[in-house]
Amino acid sequence: MTLAAYASTGFVVAGIHSLLLLRDPANAFHRRAVAVALLVGAPALCSFRFRAI
């Protein structure tokens, strides 16, 4: 449940910044934002396999 919260939050934030990045592909701010958001979301998503908390 907690990991699901991390995964969904990470991907929602990455999605918002990705949409803004579509409008302005060169924007360094949104590029870094997507990188950090996926850094949080992706490991949480991968950990679903192990079903921890």
Partner: protein, 151 residues
């Protein structure tokens, strides 16, 4: 937010600082919404379901109380985080952010435990329509508290 601040402190890239500050605003708004809805909910427990809480409160009150402590420590450290940008050392500020994330996750876990107990209640015995042998720790270790335990 904390990851972005950590990367700003390590790389000195001002974009990461801007990122941490902007996400801190989002965190503040979401926390405020959560605090208001949580206050309403905690009154609802007694006002809408007094019969349930009178019986179940002794069994399942512990995770709710612990959630309260986790919430208050989250609130304290979020206050330090939001107002301490230029007032405390960078290291203390980052620690405050880590504690916000940690206690936030902890309060989420406690609420899920309380919710799981309503699906698979344990930690008591029903004798003559009365709850006896109440064990709050055993109630917290109910089967639905995590997917692995449930199988």
């Amino acid at each position: 937010m904390v990851v972005a601040e950590r990367r700003w402190q390590r790389s000195g890239d001002p974009i990461f600082l801007e990122l941490a500050r902007r996400w801190a605003k989002g965190t503040a708004i979401l926390f405020a919404v959560g605090a208001v809805s949580g206050t309403v909910l905690s009154f609802e427990l007694g006002l809408l379901w007094p019969g349930f809480m009178a019986r179940a409160g002794a069994v399942i009150g512990l995770p709710f109380a612990l959630e309260g402590f986790a919430f208050f420590s989250e609130a304290i450290f979020l206050g330090i985080y939001l107002y301490g940008w230029d007032r405390i050392s960078p290291r203390a500020h980052l620690t405050a952010g880590v504690l916000v994330a940690f206690s936030g996750a902890l309060s989420g876990i406690f609420v899920v435990i309380a919710n799981a107990w309503m699906n698979t209640p344990t930690g008591f015995e029903l004798v003559n329509d009365q709850l006896v042998h109440i064990d709050p720790i055993a109630a917290m270790q109910n089967r639905a508290r995590s997917p692995r335990r449930y199988t």
